[in-house]
Structure formats: C-alpha cells, structure tokens
C-alpha cells in the first residue's frame, strides 16, 4: 500500500475517533438539557398545585389579555380564557396569578416564577395596591430593561382586565421598597389609565409604566397626587 494512502487512512481514522468522542459529548448534552427541561416542568407543576386556587361563586369564563414579554423592552397581550370573578379585587388576583404562573414560554416570563400575590386592595380613589412576596425583588433579573418590562406587564394586565382602577402601588411583603431590583423606583404610583386604552394593541415599554402624575400630564388627564 502506498505511503500516502496509509497517511490518509490514518488521518481519516483519527477524524472518525474525534467525531465519535464529540458525538458522545453531544449526546450527553442533549440528555442533560432534556432532563433540565423536565425538571422545569415539574417545578412549574408543583407551583401550580401549591398556589391556592382563586375562585369565587361569581366566576365566569372570559377572554382576557395577559401581557407577557415579546422581545426586549416590549410586552404584548396574549388572549387566554379564564374563569374570572365579578369582584374587582378577586378578578385582579386571578389575572395576576395567570400572569405569574402561565407564560406561554419561559422567554415570555416577566415576573419571577416563585412570586406570589400576598394581597390586593382597592382604595376608594381607585388606587390599587398589589402586595407581592419577596421573590418579586430577590429573583428579578437585574437591569432597567427587565424591571421596566415587569412593571409594564403588571400595569397593562391590570389596566386591560380590571375596570375602575386608576393607579397602582407595588408593595413587597407588605412594605414599600425603594426599587424592584436596584433600578426601577417603586416608591411612586404607576398610572393605569394611560395603559387602559392600549389594552388591545401591542405595546412598547415606555408608556405603561410611567408613574401616575407624569403619564397623566402627558395625556392631559387630571393630575393625581404624587
């Protein structure tokens, strides 16, 4: 056998060997990813079981728009059918729970999965107070963009599905906190009126999370207290 042919066979043999080793690594990687995916699903199922089911006698099946992430700095409505209460407080809890628990994909998630709604109150002047568990801040990805998206999804989802709300105050474990995860200020209120007319449309990040007075000044609405 000519020497050149021998060298060629040797190179091909080495290449096949490397390919086999690589193929094995690739197989292991695919397997581990599949397992991780299965674990995520299990964790999600566990949360769904553990989360107390919110339902009232007045619940009726309705089409609602839940605002999940649709790319960087953008939230868009996804129409889902939910049993919703006629009571605005229960209704708000139901849509917030749906927003947290059931994003269509993990990429569309805006609120950390372990977040729970501890309480929801509506004051006589239309101010909504949403009280979340600490996971809202502790598990939130850090950054203006991600925090702004989270606030937008909350504001737009409430504005689109719970009538009569004027502005939103976000609490964490019953307390006012300075920021969501180091960037977006939570000491003020977020205007729900500004978000309401856009409920059916795809929406950019900016307008919804404008704090109450700034947004209403833009829209020419009566000026709320700061």
């Amino acid at each position: 056998m000519p020497r050149n042919l021998k060298i060629a066979f040797a190179i091909m043999g080495v290449a096949v060997l490397i390919g086999l080793i690589g193929l094995r690594g690739l197989h292991d990687r695919v397997k581990s990813l599949a397992e991780a995916q299965a674990q995520k699903t299990e964790a999600q199922s566990r949360r769904e079981v553990l989360a107390p089911k919110i339902s009232t006698p007045s619940d009726t099946e309705e089409q609602v728009n839940i605002f999940w992430a649709a790319g960087p700095g953008k939230v868009e409505p996804v129409e889902v059918e939910l049993p919703l209460s006629a009571d605005p407080v229960e209704r708000a809890k139901e849509v917030l729970q749906e927003l947290i628990l059931n994003p269509p994909t993990q990429d569309q998630r805006t609120i950390p999965a372990d977040t729970t709604v501890l309480g929801f109150y509506i004051l006589p002047d239309g101010t909504a107070v949403a009280d979340f568990s600490v996971a809202l801040t502790s598990e939130m990805p850090s950054g203006i963009l991600s925090e702004q998206n989270a606030v937008n999804s909350l504001v737009k989802t409430l504005a689109a599905n719970v009538p009569g709300l004027r502005r939103l105050k976000i609490l964490v474990h019953g307390q006012e906190v300075e920021t969501l995860a180091g960037h977006v200020d939570l000491t003020g209120f977020f205007d729900l009126n500004a978000a309401a007319p856009q409920k059916a449309a795809a929406s950019q990040s900016a307008p919804a999370s404008v704090p109450a007075s700034a947004a209403s000044a833009t829209a020419g609405a009566p000026k709320p207290q700061g």
């Binding site: 960087p72 700095g73 990805p141 850090s142 950054g143 203006i144 963009l145 991600s146 702004q148 998206n149 300075e178 920021t179 180091g182 960037h183 977006v184 200020d185 939570l186 000491t187 003020g188 209120f189 950019q204 990040s205 900016a206 999370s209 404008v210 704090p211 109450a212 007075s213 700034a214 947004a215 000044a217 000026k223 709320p224 207290q225 700061g226």
Partner: protein, 281 residues
C-alpha cells in the same frame, strides 16, 4: 489686597455649596435670580477696574428646563458627572463567567471620562473604585454644580448583546413643586429637568443606535431610581447584556459608548431643548 469682585464671588460660591448640601434643594431659578442681582454691582466694579468677570459664579443664571443657554459667545462647557452604577457589595447584574456589572460599568465610565476630557469637558466620577455611594450622594455631586450633566451607566442582564438604551426619568411630580414652592424635596429634584433630560436621552439614543445596531431608535421614560434626586439634565444608559460567559464583546462596547455619549452631549450643549419645547414659556 484681594479685589472686591473676587471676595464677593467666593462668598457666593460658598453660599451655593451650602445650599447644595442641605436636605432640601433650593430651587435654582430663585437662587440664580438672586445671584444675577448680586452680579450687577459686581460687573460694574469689574468694568471700573478694567477686569472681566471670570469666576464660575458669574456664569449666566440657569433656570429649570430652559437653563443652560448662555450666549453663543460665552457658552461654558457643562460639568459631566459620570456615574458607574452599583459598587461595593452591590455587584449589580452578574455574568455567567463571574463578571460583575459594577466592574464593567466602571471600565465604561473610565473610557468615557478620557473621551470627554479629550474634548475639553470637566468630568467628575461618582466613584472611581469599588465603593458604593448612596444614590443621593451621587446625585449631590451634580446638584452642587450650577451647570452639570449627569450620566449613569449600567449593564443589564437582559436584551440583545451589543445593544444599548437611554432612559430619562419619569417620576411622580411634587405637589409642593407644582404649587410654586421654592423648596424641592430630594425625591422630586429631577421633575424640573424632565424636558431637558428627555432631549438629552433622545440625542444619546440616536448616537447609540448609530454605534450599536439593533438598539432602539428612541429613548425610553422610566422611573429609574438613580435619576430621581438629580437636579440637572440626567440620563441612564444601559448596555446589554451581562448574560454572557465571555465578557470580551461587552467590554468592547466601551469605546463606541464613549463616542456616542460625547457626541450627544456636544449636540445637547448646542441646543439643550428640542426646537418645539424651546419656544415654550
């Protein structure tokens, strides 16, 4: 013997510094109206002695939202306050390779500082090491200057790698401020500068879009805590993303980011307000 004009201007500077250190920010409009009144006799003294007024306190009196428009012949460059976000135990976002936002943005700020200084701007950084001043302490540096621009730099954990966004502050306005009170609480310091900040953010976003393709075309209003207490045109810039194993492409954004910031600030210096807004009373 010390000239009368010099002594008077030192007194005025001391008064300005004291006002900036107080818990409440004295609204600059009234402060500088007083300063302008004091400058009339001072200018007379200077003319009599053949000297030109030259101290910083003799710069034209700025006003909220229509402030920094000195005459074309005498446009004083603003002080650039560069704020690398986070620091110390507050690491900010973390990359999967262990890179921290506090280190990345400090590097960005250092490069931007060099670029601004090369163009003749005076620059102050709110931190130049691994310290973590409070948000209000950072803001106080800009608030102590009569002619400052505040730029806070962040690196987020989301968004497409190699893009950047500019944010201007949108906060609840103060009832006291709207009632015409001369005192503005710290938390509402940015309110009077919202138009100027919006203009600056738009200019920065245009430059960011040029430097980093895929960035948005226009700036975004957000309740960014870092901007809340700043009594000056102020913008937060966030680059994406910290969610990378290898920070090399992220760190490579430092140069273009510095170019974008300096170009935008130079444009803003020429026209602090958009043409439509500038005509408003």
């Amino acid at each position: 013997m010390m000239p009368a004009g010099f002594a008077l201007s030192r007194r005025m500077r001391a008064a300005l510094r004291a006002a900036a250190d107080s818990v409440m920010i004295l609204r600059v409009r009234r402060l500088f109206a007083c300063a302008a009144l004091c400058l009339v006799p001072l200018a007379c003294v200077a003319l009599q002695t053949g000297q030109q007024p030259s101290s910083p306190a003799q710069a034209p009196a700025p006003q909220a939202d229509q402030p920094r428009q000195p005459s074309t012949a005498q446009k004083v460059l603003p002080l650039i306050v560069l704020d690398p976000g986070h620091g110390g135990t507050d690491t900010g976002a973390r990359g999967s390779g262990g890179t921290t936002e506090k280190d990345v943005v400090l590097q960005f700020a250092r490069v931007a500082r060099s670029e601004f200084e090369r163009l003749g701007f005076r620059v102050v950084m709110t931190r130049s090491d691994d310290s973590d001043p409070s948000d209000d302490d950072r803001a106080a540096i800009a608030n102590a200057s009569a002619n400052a621009i505040y730029l806070t730099i962040h690196a987020g954990s989301t968004g497409a790698l190699g893009t950047a966004r500019a944010y201007y502050g949108q906060f609840s306005s103060s009832p006291a401020a709207s009632a015409g009170s001369s005192l503005v609480p710290w938390r509402h310091a940015q309110d009077s500068y919202s138009n100027a900040s919006h203009r600056l953010a738009d200019l920065i976003q245009v430059e960011l879009d040029r430097q980093f393709s895929g960035s948005p075309a226009s700036s975004t209003g957000a309740a960014v805590r870092d901007l809340r207490s700043v009594a000056a045109p102020a913008v937060a810039v966030e680059v994406s993303t910290m969610s990378v194993t290898d920070p090399t492409p992220l760190l490579a954004m430092a140069g273009p980011l510095a170019v974008a910031l300096t170009r935008a600030v130079a444009d803003f210096h020429q026209a602090p307000l958009a043409p439509a807004a500038a005509g408003k009373p």
